[in-house]
């Protein structure tokens, strides 16, 4: 038997159609709510209507009396099993079910387990809870000032509402540079609370089998392995008996990184009731209680010389974490990687401080399509630089060019300690301006201004830091941030690749196969990609922070190369040649200077049927990749808007996005990622936020109040690229999932501000709603009179 036909190898650089799409398009995906097990029970959570109140009593008798109700669980029940509290991924603790008091509207207080989701919902309404209201803090500044009402009264020694304090950079040098500065530009701005709002909400099916002791937990998880370990540590279950399966996941965007109380309660209930328990959030539960993002109040300052050279940056952050510090941040990085806020600019010093506040709002601070607070960092610097241009009478292009880190400076050590791997910021900006037709657009803008129309051009040139770790510096809850790939080539030359990372829409099943194709010559359609099942994949920290390609992608390339090295030994055996005489030619080994060759498929077949003497049979292996550094994608975005001066509405006329994410594995998938990110960036810039009234009521707990742009509002995007490979990544790729969310909000806001600049408007807060624009115009007009 001979292995069959040779197909064209479509590796890196090919727009292979996404193999996962077929099942999604025809409705044959397998999402969490599709999981149905025999004897499965359903859970509904009873939530607090109040933002801050002590729990006086809980009466479950009426709920228990309802036919079909199996159990009602309260915090007291969990306390007996030491499960009333759980650790967060930022080293804090979070109530699973409230025992002492509730700390935000929507907090989990009790759970009903019933034979159907309808009965569970009916019974949840019958749980009687008496509350005694307490003072409510929704403003982080007021919460930080207050030492009488301690939101986290559960924490021993907590005498205020401070969640953490953190700093980076060189204070003395920064202070000195500010003292010597010709000009200081300041901006206070709020990056509002938003929510990743994945189409699929969070949920789980916990199946703890009393007979086998095996806990199979189906989970909407971006990090199934890490979650398994944490379940083992928190619940005390033996890890070999825990299997976390993250099925098809309908979007994560950071929302599915944390562990939520519902997962813990459902698992405990399954253990105690010896039956599978399903819990699936409603949309409002998702928006009101699971990981929100941002909510950073930032005071940024730039020190400049009179010619526009930026010498130093200061930034103080007041971060609002709600009731529990439930970010998912690397252990040493309380404010994530926000100290990337010096951005694309070469400066001498920076000093960044952050203070986290507990408030009576939903817990979190997850990275919404963002590598640990990089979005906030990019926003403050790009807003500051544009303001600096205006204040110094320079063009926003000129000031950027003047301060860019130059191509020849890479690798570049930033003044907050990051080592930028590679970049060519001028080339990226050149490309964007060329695509935009910058000079013509500026002339058009000026002509429009002369007619009294409000047209504006906004630019943002961002630098991201993605792909955590290295494992020396980066860990989450102690788990080092490496990742892994296991590759097994079958006798017929087909392969299966198993990943420690997990796809939620990124297209791993397509793109990771292309990496193998690139390195090992097996066509992508001959490679199955497995992920998300901890019993069947090697360990990894999961998919977020644009880390899959930088870590898991690198692991995939390395293991494919290792198998190619082994295949070469087999090829030498088959060709009766020495290894030194063989050349690799995309999918086959050729004896140099001859037409004699064997394909990778021939080698795979021989690995099982005719291995060389002394060589281990088979063709498979696993690699754990610990990245030497992060990767630093960058780009230049330009937006043209026109503002309706009568209504304040603004329309994006052009949106040009040039991204440099290093080598592009699948250009079509990259474009898709950028389109999605630009849309989410537009959402945050224009319409999307969660806020709270003074009573702590959440405004934004449904899609009437929390706005997601449709195709109608979404601007038309014009995409461009430059390619500056990462020098340390095996295939030179950098990660791209989050670039557009990180880079674009400032471009949109800068464009609207540019339109209003002739009126003297200095600042607009996101979301830049038409009402806010109109108010700003009125205020500027009043000030001018």
């Amino acid at each position: 038997m001979e292995p069959s036909e040779q197909k064209a190898v479509r590796g890196v650089g090919h727009s292979v159609r996404r193999v996962e799409d077929d099942r999604f398009i025809v409705g044959r995906g397998n999402y969490l709510d599709d999981v149905k097990l025999p004897r499965m029970l359903h859970m509904a959570i009873v939530r607090s209507p109040l933002a801050h109140a002590t729990i006086e009593s809980i009466d479950i008798s009426e709920a228990m009396a309802l036919e079909g109700v199996v159990a009602v669980v309260t915090g007291k029940d969990l306390e007996a099993h030491k499960l009333a509290w759980m650790p967060t991924l930022s080293g804090d603790t979070q109530a699973v079910l409230a025992t002492d008091k509730v700390r935000f509207q929507g907090q989990e207080v009790a759970a009903v387990i019933a034979e159907s989701p309808y009965v569970a919902a009916d019974a949840a309404e019958l749980v009687e809870i008496e509350y005694e209201p307490l003072d409510i803090f929704v403003d982080p500044y007021k919460a930080l000032e207050n030492t009488e009402t301690i939101i986290r009264s559960d924490k021993e020694g907590q005498a205020d509402n401070v969640a953490y304090e953190w700093e980076a950079g060189d204070k003395a040098k920064t202070d000195q540079l500010f003292a010597e500065a010709d000009h200081v530009v300041k901006l206070h701005t709020h990056y509002p609370r938003s929510h990743p709002a994945p189409l699929e909400t969070c949920g789980c099916v916990a199946d703890v089998n009393g007979a086998t002791g095996k806990a199979t937990i189906y989970l909407t998880s971006q990090a199934p392995h890490a979650h398994r370990t944490l379940f083992a540590l928190v619940a005390g279950l033996p890890e070999q008996n825990i299997r976390v399966i993250s099925p098809d996941v309908g979007g994560g965007f950071g929302n599915k990184v944390p562990i939520y109380p519902g997962y813990v309660v459902a698992t405990a209930a399954s253990l105690l009731l010896d039956a599978p328990v399903k819990w699936v959030e409603s949309r409002s539960e998702n928006l009101m209680s699971t990981g929100f993002a941002r909510d950073y109040h930032m005071d940024g300052e730039l020190a400049l010389t009179s010619d526009g050279t930026i010498t130093a940056m200061r930034c103080h952050i007041t971060s609002d974490h709600g009731a529990f510090f439930a970010d998912a941040q690397p252990t040493k990085f309380r404010a994530g990687l926000v100290h990337i806020c010096t951005g694309s600019y070469d400066m001498q010093a920076a000093h960044i401080t952050a203070k986290g506040a507990y408030t009576n709002k939903a817990p979190g601070g997850v990275a919404y399509r963002c590598s640990f607070r990089v979005t906030e960092a990019s926003y403050i610097i790009e807003r500051l630089v544009q303001n600096a241009a205006y204040e110094l009478g320079m063009s926003p292009v000129e000031i950027r060019r003047k301060n860019f880190i130059k191509k020849e400076q890479f690798p570049y050590t930033s003044c907050t300690g990051f080592i930028y791997d590679s970049g060519d910021y001028d080339a990226s900006l050149d490309k964007a301006l060329e695509m935009l037709g910058y000079d013509e657009i500026m002339a058009e803008r000026d002509a429009a201004r002369a007619e009294g129309r409000l047209m504006g051009v906004g630019i943002a040139t961002f630098t991201e830091v993605v792909g955590a770790g290295n494992s020396k510096e980066y860990d989450i809850a102690g788990l080092k941030m490496f990742d892994s790939a296991e590759l097994r080539v079958h006798p017929t030359g087909k392969a299966i690749l198993k990943l420690g990372v997990q796809t939620q829409g990124q297209g791993h099943e397509t793109t990771f196969a292309q990496i193998v194709a690139n390195e090992l010559g097996i066509p992508p359609e001959d490679i199955a990609v497995g992920h998300g099942d901890t019993d069947n994949t090697p360990y990894g920290l999961g998919t977020y922070a644009s880390r899959s390609t930088p870590t898991g992608g690198a692991a995939t390339a390395v293991i494919a190369r290792k198998l190619r090295d082994k295949a070469k030994k087999i090829a030498a055996h088959l060709l009766e040649a020495s290894e030194g005489d063989l050349e690799w030619d995309s999918n086959k080994f050729v004896v140099k200077g001859t037409d004699k060759s064997v394909s990778i498929q021939d080698c795979a077949f021989a690995a099982y049927t005719n291995p060389p003497d002394g060589e281990e049979p088979g063709l498979e292996g696993v690699h754990y990749y610990d990245p030497p550094n992060m990767t630093y994608p960058f780009g230049a975005y330009a937006v043209v808007v026109e503002v309706d001066p009568e209504t304040g509405e603004w329309e994006v006329k052009r949106m040009v996005a040039v991204d440099d994410c290093g080598v592009r594995i699948n250009p079509m998938v990259v474009d898709g990622q950028i389109h999605g990110g630009l849309t989410e960036g537009y959402a945050m810039a224009s319409m999307q936020y969660i806020h709270y009234d003074d009573d702590g009521n959440c405004v934004g707990g449904n899609f009437i109040d929390y706005l997601i742009p449709t195709a109608v509002e979404t601007p038309k995007f014009e995409l461009g690229e430059t390619v500056t490979p990462s020098p340390h990544h095996p295939i030179g790729a950098k990660g791209v999932g989050e670039s557009a969310t990180v880079g674009s909000p400032a471009a949109y806001v800068n464009a609207v501000l540019d339109a209003l600049q002739p009126l003297g408007v200095k600042n607009l807060e996101m979301p830049v709603t038409s009402g806010r624009v109109w108010e700003a115009i009125q205020a500027a007009k009043a000030a001018a009179e």
Partner: protein, 288 residues
């Protein structure tokens, strides 16, 4: 999002539907397109014992213009009205509102009568029917009542409709020459409720405005009838100054609060702007 338990009946004639209403009284609730009611059930804001599904009632989804009267069956879908040739050519205020309501999914299912009976002050049809000076026909077993559109709506989610009544038809005078109308709406995104909406219908005769209808969306506790604005307009020749004066008369009756759509000043400013733009658009059509 699981609704509480309810019973469901699906009558196939108006008589059966009226019988069902008489039987269930205030524990029964009519479901037509369900685009507001089903979310309210799932949010448990509403918990009727019995849903009476009227989607199978024959002859309630027609549009006709005969004998000087324009008639809409209560089961006309938003999308049907938005795309109707008579509306897109003559009654632009209907066509424009019909295409601006919510999103395509809602427009395919949601009904004119259902929307009017739901009486959300941010919904659009009430304003349109005020502008058209329409009559809303309510039937119960053995009796029929009629209300002017402005009179029909009483407040937030409340109307003159009794528990045992059903809206069967909405009608207004057909337009003769010189008719022009418009519907303008500010929404933050497709599917959003209105920040502000203006429904305007004008009839021009010999260069002056012979009649005017103005309905306002999201400007108070119900769709507002801007009678003072109408009075400003009637008997005058269309002009920018006149429209500005009418706009101020409309702004004077707006009763709005601050929310994430904006401050009261902003909302009134949008109303002012839309009144001027909407009147100009309607006048242009009337003159065409």
């Amino acid at each position: 999002m699981y609704p509480p338990r309810f019973d469901y009946v699906a009558p196939t004639s108006l008589e059966e539907a009226l019988d069902a209403l008489a039987e269930h009284g205030d524990e029964g609730k009519i479901i037509a397109g369900g685009q507001s009611l089903i979310p309210m059930l799932k949010l448990r804001f509403a918990s009727p014992e019995t849903l009476i599904d009227i989607n199978r009632l024959p002859g309630m989804d027609g549009v006709s213009e005969e004998g000087g009267t324009l008639r809409f069956g209560a089961l006309c879908r938003h999308n049907q009205l938005g795309a109707h040739p008579l509306m897109t050519s003559k009654y632009h205020v209907v066509a424009e509102a019909g295409t601006l309501i919510a999103d395509p999914l809602v427009r395919n299912m949601g009904s004119l009568g259902g929307s009017l009976c739901h009486a959300d002050p941010q919904a659009d049809w009430g304003s349109v029917m005020i502008a058209l000076k329409a009559t809303i026909v309510c039937q119960k077993k053995g009796a029929t009542r009629e209300f002017g559109a402005a009179e029909f709506m009483e407040g937030i989610f409340t109307t003159k409709l009794a528990d045992d009544e059903i809206v069967t038809e909405i009608r207004c005078d057909a337009a003769n020459g010189g008719f022009g109308s418009s519907y303008l709406k500010m929404e933050r995104k497709v599917g959003d409720f209105a920040t502000c909406g203006t429904a305007i219908a004008l009839t021009l005769k010999d260069g002056t405005i012979a009649s005017a209808g103005v309905g306002l969306t999201a400007m108070g506790a119900k769709n507002l009838h801007a009678e003072d604005a109408e009075k400003v307009l009637v008997g005058q020749a269309p002009s920018a100054e006149l429209f500005a004066e009418a706009a101020e008369a409309a702004v004077a009756i707006a009763d709005v609060r601050e929310d994430s759509r904006g401050t009261p000043e902003y909302k009134k400013n949008v109303l002012r702007t839309f009144m001027k733009r909407g009147l100009a658009k309607a006048a242009l059509r009337a003159q065409a």
